[in-house]
Amino acid sequence: MSKKTNFGKINGREAMVVGIIIVMVALFSILSPTFRTYSTFVSVLDMSYYIALMAIGVTFTLITGGVDLSIGTGLICYSLFGGYLIVHKDVPVVVALIACLVLSILIGALNGLLVAIMDLPPFLATLCTCMITRGLGSLLSGGFGVSWPSSLEPEGWFRKIFRFTVNGKVIPIGIVVVVVLVLLMNFILKHTKIGRYTIAIGSNKEATKLAGVNVKFYHVFAYVISGFFAGLAAIAYSATYVTIYPGSGAGFELDAIGGAIVGGVSASGGVGTITGAFLGVLVITLMKVGLPFIGLQANWQQIFTGLVLIGAVLIDVVKKKK
């Protein structure tokens, strides 16, 4: 009843997810000696970057009571576009990065327009932009897969945002970048107007409108944030992996949304934290990376992911019943 339990609830969920992470790490480490190496730790992080960045963005839309299904194909679309500019148009990497982000913001704004202004159901609207970005990505890149400059080339400097090597030791600096962004966005969600109104829209859109808030603007903005972070995720993806193939990317969004939900973000709006979403993403990535290590064929990871998702939501359902 008191504010303590309020706080307790949110932190409780996060604490629980941290607990799950610890248990998973312990389990994998016991079952597989190769798992408990520095490099595995780094590769878990490597995979978590782009999913976590998408999760940060999509959490904003989830909190408004919507969803953004276009981030996965969007990510590939932006990444293809940027890569195409570098490889085929010889633009400097900085320009490509900016182009990536600009395109992502535009697609985010398009989602916002469809959902907040044209009042289309978020699921459907973003499903359509998912299809559109999937096609657009191939068209913008001329239908070809592209490879961004490698870390050995001077133009590959952007890869050092996420990972660089000192004396043969890989420093996963990306985790710092992502954590800073997580904390920043968590702060924005909790302590700025943008965040406040995002929660308010998810809580009761009509009442928020009656309070004189420019609901449309903030609603659109949530989708722009989602798009923008898909753009950042595109950069992380391009920086971590070698070649970007058109036609891929569908399904990435589900890892991000799944992570957010495991981390306690409610699919019906109003509830959730960015830190929670980030921790949830770590669970998903750990599963992807860890399960092959303990000798389970890669396909088991999909079954486990499905079960973990249901389990996570079931906790909420059972809690609510009590």
């Binding site: 070649t243 891929s248 290590f293």
Partner: protein, 363 residues
């Protein structure tokens, strides 16, 4: 290595049906304003872009036209079948086909046969094709190409393998994109079987572990407990680069791993990606893991130049496309044609610039 520009005109042993079909078709002049439809597996990777380039070159040389098309994804079987059907509808003088799936195109091949359109398969053969529909296949012998990687890798790791004991076995990894596509299967098994052969020849006991398909279909899966050399096969849940990298990472993280082979562009890049974190790849087995790849592409070429991979096997997509058109024109001109086996070429930092290698190393 078969490097003839024109196929051998050996006595007519194959595809008699096709030649009679052709004879029945309205006679065209040899210079040929022929039009062909070419269907590739997809345009996703640069591999196929190279193939299309070869097709265009051949068309330019012969003065024929060809229209290349392909689904968005190598797994879009349904789309490719439709494309093939559409191509047949257009009644071209011939069809070049790289089938995503060899079984799903059979009905369409029958339709092509009935319509009197000769089909040349390239990259991937269709073994069960109805008699006479496929007049020739221009494809890499994937088994040989996979074995080629093993043959070239083995000398480098020979000493380490020799030193291996049942108590302290060594591990050779292989990452395959999937266990479904015929060419990947053959390639993967080709590498495994050759490696087993080479190791057993040196008196080593070999075991194959990992993905069930490869374990069950290799020449001898052995026993992991007594083996001195363990070949571990990883297959990602889906063919995305991140999951391919995870599989590579899993294998490369193991302390006893001495070598790893990525059996196509995606998985070879997976190995390279995993190495970004692990930093274990080296050209000397004493210093780290020996890596080998398959196909080309900028990242692989760079990795070879930088001493991350000792080399890679390239097919010649360019030549395959090129020869497909030549074969089709021959068919149209009533010549008898034969299957053209294409070789896999081992390339490394030394021979990358060679005249007969460089054109096949697409970006």
């Amino acid at each position: 290595e078969t490097k003839e520009e024109t196929p051998a005109t050996t006595p007519d042993t194959k595809a008699p049906a096709a030649s009679t079909e052709e004879a029945a078709a309205p006679a065209e002049t040899a210079g040929g304003d022929y039009h062909f439809e070419v269907i590739v597996k997809s345009f996703q990777s640069t591999y196929w872009q190279a193939a299309v380039k070869g097709i265009e070159t051949a068309c330019g040389e012969l003065g024929v036209t060809a229209n290349a098309n392909g689904p968005a994804n190598e797994s879009d079987i349904a789309d490719q079948v439709q494309m093939l059907n559409d191509a047949i509808q257009k009644a071209p003088d011939g069809i070049g086909l790289a089938a995503c799936d060899t079984n799903s195109v059979l009905d369409s091949l029958t339709a092509a046969l009935n319509a009197g359109i000769p089909v040349v398969c390239f990259d991937t053969g269709v073994s069960d094709a109805p008699e006479g529909s496929v007049v020739a296949t221009v494809a890499t012998d994937n088994k040989a190409a996979g074995a080629c990687a093993a043959t070239n890798m083995y000398p480098v790791i020979k000493d380490v393998v020799a030193a291996a004991t049942a108590d302290k076995p060594v591990r050779i990894g292989e990452v395959n994109q999937d266990a479904t596509a015929l060419n990947i299967q053959e390639r993967g098994l080709g590498f495994i079987d050759e490696m087993i052969k080479l190791c057993t020849a040196d008196g080593k006991k070999v075991a194959v572990v990992g993905n069930e398909f490869y374990v069950n279909n290799c020449s001898d899966k052995g026993d992991e407990k007594t083996a001195e050399v363990i070949i571990e096969v990883g297959v990602p849940a889906q063919t995305t680069v991140d999951l391919a990298a995870t599989e590579a990472n899993k294998i490369m993280s193991k302390a006893d791993t001495i070598a790893i082979f990525g059996s196509n562009q995606t998985t070879a890049e997976g190995v390279i990606t995993a190495n970004e974190t692990l930093n274990k790849l080296a050209t000397d087995p004493a210093e780290g893991i020996i890596g080998a790849g398959f196909d080309a592409g900028t990242p692989q070429k760079a990795a070879i130049n930088n001493g991350k991979l000792i080399g890679s096997v390239t097919q010649s997509p360019l030549m395959m496309g090129y020869k497909t058109i030549y074969t089709l024109v021959d068919v149209c001109n009533g010549k008898t044609v034969e299957d053209i086996p294409m070789d896999g070429y081992w390339y490394n930092a030394d021979n990358m610039e060679d005249e007969d290698i460089a054109p096949n190393l697409y970006d």
